[in-house]
């Protein structure tokens, strides 16, 4: 059974057909990529999968359960996490608090416990603290625990965002252009980092990326979309030679 199975996904915004009949399958422990020119509908796919948009048509099955129509926080609670194209960290909270909040979906105490500081509250907070510190440690962010994200360099902010996504113990991690805005040295680091996360956390990763270097060296399978339609699927090598892909990226005259 595939981990994520998308069939016949169609999304219309008013008159705009952002996505038409998009299908895709992601196996357990896979590292796959989704590429395409600007405005092709890649982020739309992620937004639908993570529950932010309700698809016009189609179905998404994650981990054996149909998830379309669920709210993002429900999808997250089922074991999916994502990062954003433009980093979305909570800037007035410390890095540690940012990570802690990723455990919100699993909080087992309520308002009264928080105010009365019951035993359940203290146990839960302790567990969250331990988990957050652990994630920081693994991601080599411990020294920045008390910093505010906005004071960190861009590359570190990306790493914090990834740590935040991982703190929720996801089975599937969606990365939306993790290399955007990084310089080439950072990109090298990022590639190593993603591969390491993939091995260390034993999770599946699905990423959108523009930089060919990243997808080619990381992903074993790629899907290419343009104008909301899948135009090619296969290994990086196959994609590289696919005439449709070349046409989509470089125009008709390139062939």
């Amino acid at each position: 059974m595939p981990l994520l199975e998308i069939t016949g996904l169609t999304q219309r915004f008013g008159g705009l057909q952002a996505l038409s009949n998009f299908s895709c399958c992601l196996e357990e422990r896979e590292l796959a990529g989704l590429i395409g020119p600007n405005g092709a509908g890649k982020t739309t796919v992620f937004n639908i999968v993570s529950g932010f948009y309700k698809p016009t048509e189609g179905s998404i099955v994650f981990n054996g359960k149909r998830i379309n129509g669920l709210k993002p926080h429900q999808v997250t609670a089922m074991g999916m996490a994502r990062t954003f194209q433009n980093i979305r960290l909570w800037n007035t909270m410390t890095v540690l608090d940012n990570i802690r909040l990723a455990r919100y979906a699993w909080l087992n105490y309520g308002f009264l416990s928080a105010v009365l500081r019951t035993g359940r509250y203290r146990r839960a907070e302790k567990a969250i603290e331990t988990k957050a510190r652990e994630v920081l440690e693994i991601m080599e962010l411990t020294e920045y625990a008390e910093e505010f994200p906005k004071n960190l360099p861009y590359g570190l902010q990306r790493r914090v965002e990834m740590a935040r996504a991982l703190a929720g113990n996801p089975r599937l991690l969606l990365l939306d252009e993790p290399a955007a805005g990084l310089n080439s040295a950072d990109v090298e680091g990022l590639i190593r980092h993603i591969r390491w996360i993939y091995d260390e956390f034993k999770i599946s990763i699905w990423m959108i990326e523009h930089q060919m270097k990243v997808v080619m060296s990381l992903c074993r399978r790629l899907a290419v979309i343009d104008f909301g339609c899948t135009i090619a699927e296969g290994t990086p090598e196959e994609i590289r030679r696919d005439p449709d892909v070349i046409r989509a990226y470089l125009g008709d005259g390139a062939l």
């Binding site: 982020t43 937004n47 932010f52 954003f84 194209q85």
Partner: protein, 305 residues
């Protein structure tokens, strides 16, 4: 039936007042994303200015002692000019320095609230509690239209609101400065790059908004000649609500919202005890906002991820 029609005329008149105030809210909001909570009090200032100007011009032993028609003709532009001066002064003295400092938007809103309080209470403190009465500037004549009594004043009020709406719509849609105003609301930082001075656009917006409110104040004072310092507060709040229900930032919205609010109010007051007026009016508006969270003409909120 005649009662309903009669009430419709009243609603149109009140709607005109609300619309004239709401237009100012919407203009300023559209350009600065600032709720100018002092705007209702600027309306009040307009009414008082109209009183002072017309009294001074009419005074038989004064230096002018103009005939009434001339006084009316002079009072209208003078009131509008002086009221816009008040509006621009507020912007220069209170809002602009704060915005320059990059204060949180809500601090500017609070400052506007405080300016409103100063205008109300300063007026009360300076002029005392005795109420002013606007001299009669226009002889009342009643027309009988299909069995409904309509005074000439009501017709003028409605006509004025429609004309103002058309004029503002023309300015915003067709003229260069109107284009600049719309540009500011899109991107405040790109505008200076295009060679348009931001400050003059803002000042122009305040002139338009306050001038229209001044006209509203004058017309209101002519219709209900007894003036009091708090007259602008409640009317202002309601006009603001009307602007939001119409879709704040859109001129058509302010106009539609103003008339909608007036219709609801007048109809509720006509058929139910008048104490229920606010309750029903606000509840209905709340329901509308619930269904259309960005108002009648407002564009749906979209956030890009």
């Amino acid at each position: 039936m005649e009662l309903v029609l009669q009430q419709c005329v009243n609603a149109l008149q009140w709607g005109s007042f609300y619309a004239l105030i709401a237009l100012g809210y919407t203009l300023v909001y559209g350009v600065l994303r600032l709720i100018n909570f002092a705007h209702g009090d600027i309306f009040m200032v307009g009414a008082y200015l109209a009183f002072f100007i017309s009294t001074a011009l009419l005074a038989p032993d004064g230096m002018f002692a103009f005939p009434r028609e001339l006084v009316l003709a002079l009072t209208i532009p003078l009131t509008m000019i002086f009221t816009s001066l008040v509006g621009v002064t507020l912007e220069r003295v209170a809002y602009r320095p704060l915005m320059r400092k990059g204060a949180h938007r809500l601090y500017v809103v609070i400052t506007a609230l405080m300016c409103g309080l100063i205008l109300e209470n300063g007026n009360l403190a300076l002029l005392g509690a005795s109420r002013k009465t606007l001299p009669v500037l226009l002889d009342k004549s009643v027309y009988d239209l299909w069995g409904i009594a309509v005074t000439n004043l009501k017709l003028w009020v409605i006509l004025a609101a429609v004309l103002v709406f058309l004029a503002l719509h023309f300015i915003v849609v067709k003229t260069r400065i109107g284009m600049a105003m719309r540009a500011v609301s899109w991107d405040k930082f790109a505008l200076p790059l295009m060679g348009i001075p931001l400050d003059s656009v803002i000042v122009f917006t305040f002139i338009l908004g306050s001038g229209v409110a001044g006209l509203g104040g004058l017309l209101f004072a002519m219709s209900y000649p007894v003036l009091e310092p708090y007259m602008g507060a409640m009317t202002g709040w309601k006009a603001f609500i009307a602007a939001v229900v119409g879709g704040i930032g859109d001129i058509r919205g302010a106009f539609a919202g103003g008339f909608l609010l007036a219709f609801v109010e007048v109809m509720v007051a006509a058929f139910l005890p008048s104490t229920f007026r606010d309750l029903f009016a606000f509840s209905i508006l709340l329901l509308i906002l619930w269904q259309r969270p960005t108002g009648i003409f407002g564009k749906p909120l979209t956030s890009k991820i």
